[in-house]
Amino acid sequence: MTACQQSTKLVLQPMIGCRRIETQLVAEFKIKIEVCIAVIDNLVHGESLHGRFARMQLLRICRLNHRSHNLVLGLLIRVAAALTFSPVFLAAPALAAEFGIGYGAVDQGDDRLEPAASVHAGLDNYVVNLYYYGREFGPIRQDTYLIGVAHMWPIFGGSGLSAHFGVSLIDERIRIKYIDSLYTANNNAENNFNVGINFGVAWTFLPKGIAPLWAQVAWDSHIYAAGLEGGILLSSGRKQVISLAVGVEFK
């Protein structure tokens, strides 16, 4: 390498480094503009979607920081990001979560109620209800698991009433197990799984003063098509659950 080439390299290297930093700063600037738009949207519309968008941008910045080898620049970006995002987190609608366990009564289409155990979990506008019920009669044992994952909408203003609609999964296990060797040939096990729809209404009824305690009465229907052909002709089967769950809520 000649002296001229060496001197050119010495001059160009810092310039290339500066350009890299400059390019990164431009990228950060663009992201910050997007973030600012998201912040304004969030403040104006108050929609959680924008909050989520802003959080995604934060993740992008974090990823950029991982790529950056410049510690000082990385720290500066983090401080700037923290300052930029503080109003986002303050303005973003708080996520509400609730968790409860309880008792349910299941009707399998014959107007007879069976006791069931229930677990309820909710996050923001989404609810998950898990019900379990079963019975044992001689050598026959039946276990049924119902899971409803649904979107929830408040109805009738601030009455505590809400409606939900979503997907339902059912797993029904039937086991026939004889101990007597004379009948063991009849031993059998079935596992029936189905996917359907879940809808219902719920009433959260505890007064505000006793938070974080939470209680809810729910009335759910889990509807499954009676086979493919039956489903087309609207023939269906249903599990209805009336449940009372008690737990805690976080806001």
Partner: protein, 162 residues
């Protein structure tokens, strides 16, 4: 005090008329749109166990339902099962989907009596006729045995804008 079945039926009808009357009085005068009429077809679950019965072709009166919806989203639902109801709709998801809640007379194969219903349905867009799909659950107390009855129905149909 033990009431006879006939007396309980009369009480149920009187309660329904009372609720319907009170709600009707609360209705403001309809303005731009007089209401809508929905005709539904689909087999109800009538409390007989198993999957709900289906008639092919659908000539069984059990499978039909008529709903009248006012401009204020109050609805009157007439069917053999799950029954006769009066309630209020709440619009969700930009108005195309609704949730109905109300009370009336619940009817299924195990009896009839006063009760409540809830429903969720979807209407397509259209200025005169709209496709409609609705699922409705009801729960009530049989007037004779005083046990719970809980029919449901998954139905499709057409909504005519009046």
């Amino acid at each position: 005090m033990k009431w006879s079945r006939a007396e309980l039926c009369r009480i149920s009808i009187a309660l329904y008329m009372l609720f319907a009357g009170l709600f009707s009085l609360a209705l403001p005068t309809p303005s731009a749109f007089a209401g809508a009429l929905t005709l539904h077809v689909g087999p109800p679950g009538i409390g007989s166990g198993g999957a709900n019965p289906l008639s092919i072709p659908p000539v069984n009166i059990l499978e039909y339902e008529v709903e009248y919806i006012t401009s204020n989203d109050f609805e009157t639902c007439l069917s053999v099962s799950p029954g006769i109801f009066f309630g209020k709709r709440t619009r969700i998801l930009k108005g195309s989907t609704y949730v109905g809640l109300g009370g009336g007379i619940v009817i299924d194969t195990n009896g009839a009596g006063p009760g409540v219903y809830s429903s969720i349905g979807y209407n397509t867009s259209g200025s005169f006729i709209q496709f409609n799909m609705e699922v409705k659950q009801a729960i009530g107390i049989d007037s004779t045995s005083h046990k719970l009855i809980s029919p449901y129905a998954l139905r499709i149909g057409a909504t005519f804008i009046l």
